[in-house]
Amino acid sequence: MHPLVVNFEADFVLQLLPVEADFTMDQVAEAAAFHSLNRRVKPQSGKTLRVRVQDADVPLGREVTVAQAGLREMETVEVYYE
């Protein structure tokens, strides 16, 4: 288990997100969405969820894995609609 801290766009709270080191960023976004979308955040159709490290200017590649991106345990990532 590789825990991350997720800040999901338009949600109100940071959440603990257990993922695996070989998860791609698309899988991270999907896992994060499970805890926010349709619970407290309305989905936005036709848009893609992206992942970026907090304060980064650009998102991580969608196929890049957690390990490849060098995300440390409890790294804070933002998941947002592009």
């Binding site: 800040n7 709270v13 959440q15 603990l16 407290r40 409890m74």
Partner: protein, 499 residues
Amino acid sequence: MALLNRSDWYDIARDTNWTPKYVTEDALFPPQMSDCFDIPREKWAGYDEPYKTTYREYVKVQREKDAGAYSVKAALARMKFFEGADPGWLSILKAHYGAIAVQEYAAGMAEARMARFGKASGMRNMATFGLLDETRHGQIQLYFPHEHVNKDRQFDWAHKAMHTNEWGAIAARHMFADMMNTRDAVSVAIMLTFAFETGFTNMQFLGLAADAAEAGDFTFANLISSIQTDEARHAQIGAPALKILIENGKQEEAQRKVDIAFWRSWRLFTVLTGPMMDYYTPLDKREKSFKEFMEEWIIGQFERNMLDLGLDKPWYWDIFLEELNDTHHGMHMGVWYWRPTVWWNPAAGASSAERDWLEEKYPGWNDTWGQCWDVIAANVAAGREDLLLPQTLPVICNMTNLPIVGRPGKRWKLRDYHLDYKGRRYHFGSEPDRWVFEQEPERYAGHTTLVDRFVAGLVQPPTIEGALQYMNLGQGEIGEDAHGYDWAFDYQNFRKQAV
């Protein structure tokens, strides 16, 4: 024989200082227990407590206060307020007693530290009465809820909460221990009595008393008003201590400690008092919003107290003012969404009429917090209970031990104020929380939040159920929506009519 006036003998009688011959000054008053500012003992002779009372006077007044509070309780017990009370109001009582009652004993220990280790005889005298005050507050706030335990098991948490690993209890213990039980007497005087009691106890014990009276809970209104009369007296230990510190060139250090205690108090009140005032109190019983009470008691009065003493406003004052609009809404939503993890039943407070009130008091509420409550209300209407309960934990601040929250919806503003220290990443809910940690990192670094413990494998099984077990929350105790989701159906019907 004619009695002397108190003013004729008070100073002599309370001045129990003497010159030690058999021990050193530091052995009698160890700096880590007495005065970390290291003000010479003779300077403390100038300490002048503004409120002077004698033991005889104290006992007489306290006896009358107790007689009043207990007789109101006995008289009103026959009115069966409990049976007819709004579930949201009962949640206020449960949350209040669990968070406060046992901590009063810890406050008694803090007063005892000042009573023993304060170098000023006036401080020792006042703190002796403060110790008796806090003992009374502990006893009375455990006795009053006890009559409800046979009707509702959550009231058992008045005594139980502080002995568990429930997250709110950890947060309260961490904050109160920081300012009350792990500091020298002088620091306790300025952090507990000045920063916390002068400002914030007014919010919980006077502001809430106004709502209690409106709600018809005269027993509770009378009880907490009675307590506040004690607080108003022993809270005055801090100001003359600050005066001595400032006169002796310690303004900067004193300011720093006041700033720490103020911020920590503020943050705890966002989860305790904010939701009570703006969401749990029935709408027609609310006297003012949490923000309005804060503006009256904290901005109006406490700010003036600080400036009068020669202190500045804390460096984070603008951040604090901005937080008045947001933070407690986030704490409320966190408590509601993770309601199985608390010992009371959170009232959502999001019916159509309540939303109108929130929008009026907090312009923009519908575009932010309302966006989330829209989704929640729709899930209630659709019977999606699976989406109304959490499947993971919120990330917890390494200072407050409270969820890290921000503003949702159309004006989304949420971030992690993290810090790497000695190879460990710490997460904070605000810039001032991180600043507090940075003032004395070794003081705080070893503590683990509930989430830290979860990640470290100390919570087994690593599920929500395992977390509830770790927090000692059993069936009949875990929180549910206070009104069985009635508010959501009301809001959904309102929306349909609007369409």
